[in-house]
């Protein structure tokens, strides 16, 4: 607290109707003052500034400081810089007029620095480095502080130097160096660094978020591929190294995925539970099961973590409702480098500001008929979009049935023509996925949404609904019809279907960006210039990425029921357990079946993403312009991750759960041949281990916790109670925020009132200075309103035309004057 030590009696404390002086928030004043005057320190004779404080100022400083404010040193130094150069040109003159010298100011600064150094010395080395790095000072000041801290630390250490302390210092130093080296190495191998910087420079951060998302998915798939390959494929390859498949390889297999690939390790069917002749027994069943389980747990955990973190940062802490003006101003993208892009961005910003102003000024006085009409239009478009989705689902279902018929009828499985005809289904699916979103965006142009963000959400919702329903139909078909009707390995059949979907989807993305962006640009510039150059449609592209990832997850997971249980329970969806145990068809075949059917799919996805990056980059550079509406990139990112998680991942999980629990594996292929359900492998294993007495605890856990419903019911109950509890805490904190805001307003009023009192007091007692203190009254003009003026708000800000120093610095100077006066009076006694 700045010592407001006014001599001549405690006139301040005598004011009975006032709050105590402790409630006066003087801290910001001292901090701002501190830094501004710190600037004075940059004199050429830096070395002459010694650490000699005037004795009396230090004494009453420390006794005024309440005990808990040791942190204030760092915080106040951190808050410097607001008045960094403000005092200097006119400031020197002003200071002299008030009667203060540079020495006083400098001394003030030195004492603050001392406090800071004292505080830094008490911290550990790592925290100290972090704290110094966080100081918003220039490099020279930071070096200064650091040297002082090191000097004082070494002088302290001279007494306590022991071997162990030295060793731990060395260890932590080397660990730090390792960490720094690792991060530099990581940066050196960062993929696509230059490209992404270029894209960010031309198109802004929201378009960049699409490419970062793509890169993230690539990394994700790389890890999953490595995991699967290491634990499942390599042992299988080792085991079957002698065999060679008896079908010739023709080029069509790359697209259809059948034929040659059928008997390789690409699909479920290629894995067997045999053992080599040597002593090493590799239980392929358990390996297959648990590897993919572990992988999915990893996926799930990382998704939840990033979703929760992103949600907290972008939705909870941010202001959803108002705040358009500041948000627009603060969202200026400093990384934009291209001149034309900057100019365009300025134009867009201006347009957006004007729009937001007109929105605020316009009130919703729409007549009833207008509103009914709007409602009618909305309803129609929703009905049409639902109809489109339903129609496409029906078409796909009939096509699936037709395919099955074909398989039953055909006797020659190796026929090339028949295999090519299996491509019809994926072709139709991808066609629907390409064309119908375009129809949706046309529909949304017909509607008139007041809030553009709402419009984006609606479009995303419709697209997700379409894709979900298509995939649900496919899953339903696979789980119900394929398992019973296909003569061969049904898992491999499903795997092939999914493989074809992925490949054809990829081809369609290529064509999609060709048609979507290239042709639109041609149309926009040559044929119908009113449309203009297309913007890069982030939402649709991200949804495509999520859809592709969904298919991959569909194709590649086999989820241990343990993990499913814990996972699902965590979200209170324990009912799945009940469903699966009672063999009821689960209600939600949402996306994501998984790696169960083809463990090598992440590799294909990786290649696909890699190629897609370059494709999209080229298309972006040639065909698109930067988006018109800026901002909200961070929130959109949260929504994408949430979409990746919620329908996509959870749905796939549920479906795999059903597959593992209820469906019978086919008898002729795969590692789970001969079992009733896949999960039986784990049960059998548990029975085997029950014989060994050392693992009886594991068997006990399995039989009493994992197989019992009561356990999960109790867990769910506990989690619900916790959720309720935390919700109540959040509500309480919201109320606290409101109260604190009111308190800030009140404190501000107090401060202004007290400063005015101080000024009147000083004007009475500083009569000899008054003549020279020409600038004095002008400084305080803006604060001399009475309390009633506060209701007028911001018109005060427009009053002074001349360049007066602001409110805060005048308050500081007043306070300094008062203190100096008090010192002089003390000396007189």
């Amino acid at each position: 607290m700045l010592p407001l030590h006014v001599g001549g009696g405690d006139w301040l404390r005598g004011q009975g109707s006032w709050r105590s002086p402790d409630s006066i928030p003087m801290v910001p004043l001292s901090s701002q003052y501190g830094n501004r005057a710190w600037q004075l320190n940059h004199e050429p004779d830096n070395s002459q500034i010694r650490i000699n404080l005037p004795k009396d100022s230090s004494t009453f400083r420390h006794e005024e400081q309440p005990p808990g404010t040791l942190r204030m040193g760092v915080t106040s130094m951190r808050r410097r810089g607001t008045l960094k150069t403000g005092l200097l040109p006119g400031g020197n003159v002003a200071l002299e007029k008030i009667g203060l010298t540079e020495e006083d100011v400098r001394d003030e600064i030195m004492s603050e620095e001392q406090d800071l150094v004292k505080e830094l010395v008490t911290m550990s080395t790592r925290e100290c480095i972090q704290a110094i790095r966080d100081l918003p000072m220039c490099m020279e000041d930071k070096k200064n502080i650091r040297n002082q801290v090191l000097a004082s630390k070494s002088s302290k250490k001279g007494f306590l130097l022991t071997c162990s302390a030295d060793c731990s210092e060395q260890i932590s130093l080397s660990l730090r160096r390792c960490g720094v080296g690792l991060s530099s190495a990581r940066q050196a191998v960062r993929l696509w660094q230059g490209t992404m910087k270029e894209i960010g420079g031309r198109f802004g951060t929201s378009v960049l978020s699409y490419f970062s998302f793509l890169k993230w998915l690539l990394m994700f798939n790389t890890i999953s591929f490595l995991v699967n390959f290491g634990f499942i494929t390599i042992p299988q390859l080792v085991q079957t190294s002698g065999r060679s498949p008896d079908v010739r390889f023709t080029g069509l297999e790359l697209i259809t995925g059948a034929g040659y690939f059928n008997q390789t390790v690409m699909y479920y069917g290629g894995y067997i539970n045999g053992t080599k002749d040597s002593d090493f027994k590799y239980n392929m069943q358990l390996a297959y099961f648990f590897t993919i389980a572990a992988y999915l747990v990893l996926c799930g955990v990382s998704l939840i973590y990033s979703m929760a973190r992103s949600f907290r940062r972008n939705f909870v802490l941010s202001d959803l409702s108002s705040g358009s003006a500041w948000r627009l101003l603060c969202s200026w993208d400093f990384s934009m480098v291209n001149e034309r892009a900057v100019r365009q961005r300025k134009n867009n910003l201006r347009v957006q500001l004007k729009e937001s102003l007109s929105e605020m000024m316009q009130t919703n006085f729409l007549p009833v008929s207008e509103r009914m009409k709007q409602l009618g239009i909305h309803l129609c478009t929703w009905v049409v979009s639902a109809g489109l989705a339903a129609g496409s689902c029906a078409a796909i279902y009939y096509l699936c049935q037709y395919n099955l018929q074909q398989i039953k009828v055909s006797q020659n499985p190796g026929n090339l023509k028949e295999e090519a005809s299996t491509l019809l289904l994926p072709f139709v699916v991808s066609l629907f996925n390409l064309v119908i979103p375009l129809l949706y965006s046309l529909l949304s142009k017909v509607e008139n949404y007041s809030n553009p963000r709402f419009q984006i959400y609606v479009i995303i919702l419709r697209n997700v609904f379409l894709k979900m329903s298509i995939l649900s139909i496919l899953c339903f078909h696979w789980v119900n019809n394929v398992t019973t009707n296909v003569p061969m390995c049904w898992e491999s059949y499903v795997g092939q279907d999914l493989y074809r979907l992925v490949i054809v989807n990829f081809f369609f993305s290529i064509f999609g960006s060709f048609f979507g962006e290239f042709l639109r640009r041609i149309i926009g510039t040559r044929c119908m210039p009113s449309i203009g150059i297309p913007e890069f449609d982030i939402a649709t592209n991200v949804l495509d990425l999520i859809y592709a990832q969904t298919l991959t997850w569909y194709l590649s997971s086999n989820y241990a029921s343990v993990c499913i249980h814990v996972y699902l329970i965590t979200f209170g969806i324990f009912t799945i357990r009940l469903f699966t145990s009672s063999h009821i068809c689960p209600l939600f075949f949402l996306f994501r079946i998984g790696i169960y059917f083809s463990p090598l799919l992440p590799l294909i996805q990786m290649i696909k993403l890699f190629l897609l990056f370059y494709l999209k980059k080229v298309s972006l550079n040639r065909n698109c312009q930067p988006p018109r509406r800026s901002g909200r990139a961070a929130q959109m990112q949260t929504i994408y991750i949430a979409l990746l998680f919620f329908p996509s991942f959870v749905g796939a999980l549920s479906l795999v759960a059903y597959t593992v629990w209820c469906l019978t594996p086919s008898d002729s292929c795969g590692p789970f041949q001969g079992l009733n359900t896949t999960f039986e492998a784990v049960s059998l294993w548990m029975e085997d281990t029950a014989i060994i007495s050392e693992f009886s605890w594991a068997v006990w856990i399995y039989s009493h916790m994992i197989k019992s419903e009561l356990f999960f019911f109790l867990l769910a109950l506990i989690f619900l109670v916790l959720i309720y509890f935390f919700w109540q805490i959040t509500q309480g904190r919201k109320m606290l925020i409101i109260l604190l805001k009111e308190q800030i307003i009140n404190e501000g009023k107090d401060k202004a009132f007290l400063l005015e009192k101080l000024r009147t007091f000083q004007n009475l007692s500083l009569v000899p200075y008054h003549a020279e203190n020409v600038h004095g009254p002008q400084y305080f003009e803006r604060t001399y309103q009475t309390e009633s003026d506060y209701s007028e708000g911001y018109q005060r800000g427009a009053c002074p035309e001349e360049d007066t120093p602001p409110f805060a610095s005048s308050a500081l100077m007043q306070a300094m004057m008062a203190r100096r006066q008090a010192e002089e009076e003390d000396e007189e006694y």
Binding site: R78, P89, I129, R146, G323, F334, V337, I744, Y794, G797
Partner: protein, 189 residues
């Protein structure tokens, strides 16, 4: 600093790594770009200072509407001419880097937006800020009514203690509620 060769001594490099948010590669790259901009005879002196005009030729700063303010804020020269030493340049890159904390970024953003350097953002500062971001020519400026309305909205939203200006704490509070700020306040060489 101050070696005649264009190499940073190792102890200085590690010191800079400790004091800034930059990694070793970034510091070396910054050193390279800085010495490229220096005039030939300046390269041998002990603590060379780049004049503002040369700094503004950097492609990363050339089209930035706040380029002069950035140079002025980070400059430690006595005559406020916006010239930067290498350490000032590192400070600049550190504040705009990926790993800088939101505190540092909002602090420096406040100083950049404070056009008259008085420690608060009053109406004039806000007006100049808006003009900087929307264009300063006659046909691109906002009308004075719109400007007044806009600034009233801004102040209503962010001035918590209702004194007509936005001080550092209020600014940092507003920034903490815009999650896009940290990712857009970035300049990478």
């Amino acid at each position: 600093m101050g070696t005649s060769a264009s190499q940073l001594p190792k102890d200085l490099l590690s010191e800079y790594q400790e004091l800034t948010f930059l990694t070793k590669q970034e510091i070396l790259l910054a050193h390279k770009r800085f010495t490229e901009l220096l005039a030939k005879d300046d390269r041998s002196c002990s603590n060379p200072r780049l004049p503002m005009s040369r700094i503004l030729t950097l492609p990363e700063l050339k089209s930035n509407p706040f380029k002069e303010r950035i140079c002025l804020v980070f400059s430690t020269s006595d005559n406020k001419d916006g010239s930067l030493t290498f350490e000032d340049f590192l400070d600049l890159l550190s504040a705009f880097s990926d790993s800088a904390t939101s505190d540092i970024k909002s602090h420096y953003a406040f100083r950049i937006f404070d056009f008259d350097d008085d420690g608060t953002l009053d109406r004039k500062d806000l007006e100049r800020l808006v003009n900087c971001l929307t264009g300063d020519t006659d046909e691109t400026r906002l009308t004075s009514d719109e400007m007044k309305q806009l600034i009233n909205n801004i102040l209503e939203e962010s001035d918590i203690d209702k004194d007509g200006t936005v001080n550092l704490s209020e600014f940092q509070h507003v920034i903490s509620r815009s999650p896009d700020f940290v990712s857009s306040f970035k300049i990478v060489l």
